[in-house]
Symmetry: D3
Subunit: 234 residues, 6 copies
């Protein structure tokens, strides 16, 4: 259930029986021909679909992440690593004081990984808190499905092209773009745009819905499995 579909009395009731909560972590940034909101949309949706049958609350996605390397693409705001880590720490800290103990952070953008470090460092000092940072598309079982379909799968490629991240009226290129090494993000913003052009890191821009929905179902299942059994203590 989405937190915004509850009031505080309902969460207080929930906390009498349970202490889990899910925070989706997104980024608003270029995704080639796809929506600027891909990472936010996918992290939030995969969390809600996974959590709903379990009755575990899902917070609104944190839309903004760490993406300085896409600075040359309009619509890609970024937070600094330091600020992002502070945001994660402070959200965990205040929710902990309100009774939550087990936090699943479902992340949709690789650049946000320092948030995972912040969460781990935070929880290390809390004997009764647990955090799990999960890059949903790279979960073992999900990634296995991806690889079984097409090993060229990357940022802004078919891997992120779902019915809910495509834009109406925007056609995708039909060719298979040569892969660009992920390390390009370590160079400056201008170099990144020069190297990436339209923004995709390579591969096909779209595949049949049958393919991407298989990826999606694996992603949802894997997040649900984590909500149920991803904890070292009950």
């Amino acid at each position: 259930m989405r937190v915004q579909d509850c009031n505080w009395m309902q969460l207080e009731e929930y906390l009498r029986e349970d202490d889990r909560i899910v925070l989706p972590c997104g980024s608003i940034e270029q995704h080639g021909y796809l929506s600027l909101g891909v990472d936010m949309i996918l992290a939030e949706r995969v969390s809600i679909e996974a959590a709903d049958p379990l009755g575990v609350p899902v917070l609104p996605a944190l839309p903004y992440g760490i993406t300085p390397y896409f600075a040359a693409y309009p619509g890609s705001p970024t937070l600094s690593v330091e600020t992002y880590k502070a945001v994660i720490r402070e959200l965990l800290d205040s929710l902990y004081r309100q009774g939550f103990r087990r936090f699943l952070l479902v992340n949709g953008h690789g650049g946000n990984d320092p948030g995972g470090e912040a969460a781990a460092a935070w929880s290390a000092g809390y004997p009764d808190a647990q955090t799990v940072w999960h890059n949903w598309w790279k979960g073992a079982r999900t990634w296995e499905v991806v690889q079984s379909i097409d090993t060229d799968a990357s940022h802004a490629s078919w891997l992120e092209n779902f019915p809910w991240t495509r834009l109406a009226g925007v056609a995708q290129p039909q060719e298979r773009k040569p892969m660009v090494a992920a390390t390009i993000v370590e160079s400056g913003a201008a170099q990144v745009r020069e190297a990436l052009g339209d923004g995709s890191f390579g591969g096909l821009y779209e595949r049949p819905d049958d393919d991407v929905l298989r990826v999606w179902r694996a992603g949802v299942d894997e997040v649900r499995e984590l909500i149920e059994n991803g904890w070292t203590r009950a």
Copy 2:
């Protein structure tokens, strides 16, 4: 238009003609019997309704704000003042580098006002940037409508009870709650809960839709007016 309904090429196209953008600022926090997402929902929706006819892009709402005083109510995560100001500064800074120059921050939560200070301080050093921080429900014309209907209008009262912030199946109390002074938030979290009980600051919990929709239309009009004419330079 919502930023997540665009790709970067469309925003780049937009920037050839315009440099305005809207950032809604919310908070996830107790709102009595209403949704924990009231501030986020209203700030984002009022922005989109106002901006859509103008074709100006609206970012996803920043869901999390500054609300330490509601710490005793589950589902009210807070950022520190310092971190919140950093988030605002960094979003403005990176969007500026991507070509945006006029920023309207439509805020739904009074506790976020340090974000307005951060925006003003940031833009002071940018000769060609402008920021406007707008608490939508307190805009002069909107507040006039509110007062003409019922002067007891506060946090979690009828003033925030819209068709899109009510929860299905949750009934509202029918009495008029005595007003609690807004300064209660300066005391500790436990005192705040003791003083507020269900979370409303007082007044009626609901009024006929005719009333609240008049407030809403005034709110949308006032935001639209700001997007069009709220700038000191074109």
Copy 3:
């Protein structure tokens, strides 16, 4: 009981029934002819005598405080305001996570008052935590006893001259020193030493033990009363 007279199993046992703890806050700094440790010694001893009959644990005194204005007197190390506040916040924070909820900070040095602000700000965000910052010699009833004896009572005067803060073999001046305004500490270290000379702020250097022990008993009683009843919630 002193925390160093317990092991962790004993504190865990204690926490099953109670959640109070006392932190004495001292300073190592010039006290005229008296011990450099006056503030630490008094804060710790008054805490232990007050808490012992109640079985509430007393932490070791934090010996170091905020005393930049005594920089011209050897043996007066100081922490910065910022660091001191961080120390207080972090001690509270980690003890809270271990189960303590009510914290009495018994302070022996006026310059440490920013620690009280830090404690108040910290607890404001914790609905189930309480902190009390108590300057033991200025407690209402203790100060009344002081004033009934001699209104010239100040730093390094008879007011701090107890059997346990005097140094063997060091004689005290017999005259009544003219009072120096407390605001002298706002000037630089050199000015402070020039104005204070031996370090006392004025008044007699010693009084009969009958007098100072009356002050002491009032101080102990007042701290004990706070440990028992100084809380707004059980």
Copy 4:
């Protein structure tokens, strides 16, 4: 001599002839069946016994250190690495301005080692200041004695069980506990408690006083040797 047994005039006198001072660094934290104050007690006592014959002043122990990994054991408050380093820097800095030049920091807790880094970094910029960070129980000669007695010697084992760290009426287990790898502290607080149970890292819980007093005398001798000859310049 203990600093709290002096007044400032006596330290000023001392500084005419000498510029050495000792700061013991402890931690309040679980030590199995032993006192929560073991690290503070040992660091302070070994310093005083070593320094007394030399007439070098010993500050009160800094009781609080860096021990986040023991967060699941009540009575183990921790400072952050950043704050701890600031405390060390600021104490050195203000004592330097008062005339001290050679600082021996006698440490009783391995987790405090960042304090040694802070001291080294601080003194690097002061041509006439020297700092030595000494983990007293790991000094070459002391550790040799330890190893000659029993190579299973660790946190909360016989190695820290002295007449002045035992608690009256608390019996020690009689078995030899299997050693736990020191790297366990790198995992979270809950894992640490699960792995350590009673808190000892392994080995016997007590040995005859003859043994531990040999360790003690070696420790005192080694600290005294450092006070006398541990400096690169007079």
Copy 5:
């Protein structure tokens, strides 16, 4: 003498007899038709002319200061208040460790005044250090001369138009510009440029050299007087 006309052996020699040093503080920023370096040039030159007969060393001017309000004028880089204060503190701190004790900071730009606060706060904790922050053009006697000549005297007016701040081949307007209130700098950069236009705050743009050289001589005399007698202790 200029520090860059010495080697370290010469300064070490100087320190055997004296402990004074002068740090000029400038700013690179718009000065209407005059040099962008006016504040740096004047602060450094007035210091050197004043100090030379006394043999007191003058550091190179810190060229960069605090001037965010001139952001709309090219060639006006600014430091943040926080960074500027750190620069001042660190320069004082390291020079102190090298033997200097009396520091005269000769400032040429009003916006730098937080540097004076930083210097005062720094020296408050150093019993044997003194700092004087002197805005050279506002010294009592210098300002008296200015006022006796023309009360309209401001930033970028005749008051800063010396033979060594004029640019070859650049003519000055001949009219008397209406004065702009100094508080304009509190508004944003765009407003400042709109209000100031060419950058002068008003008054005549030039006056006969006889006038400005009288100001100059008063400025030099007043700085020299401070170097000689501006200290509270020798």
Copy 6:
């Protein structure tokens, strides 16, 4: 052209055609028998000689750098790494907002290299900004000339002994000093002075002007080449 030889109107004019600017980075620190200002003098002069024929503006040298290891030599003030990086970032940031896009930082002191890291990190997030950090004496072609003359070339040796860094009336030693390893700077200030004595890192103290002027011309040429062609984008 030097920035202080321009007013803001002239820079605004320049920015219509160009967006390059040069910032020399120096340090005031011991250079043996040579001027304390060597690094500042050389960085500024090599920049001006290189830029003048091209009409590109050169800012005043930032005189102060990072040199904690020379703390035992009077006249060697230092900034902290953190503050230095902030200074570089803030100068770039404010000049960028005023229209500059290509920044050449000509550095004269190896210890300042963290400034280069700060510049690179800053520009990575600016798609249309470029920074080049150039240690002028270590440029490939300049260093080749140095090596062809004498491979013993180091701090305070003949390599920095130019007609504009020598002090009138100060004779140089005539012997060839044995080289000291550059890693000595990693030890404390006292050790550095003990190891270096007069401050030179070794080699001859002077060589004929023919030699050093060949180095100089190579240095100027290499900086000019960078101003012209050192950019990845026009």
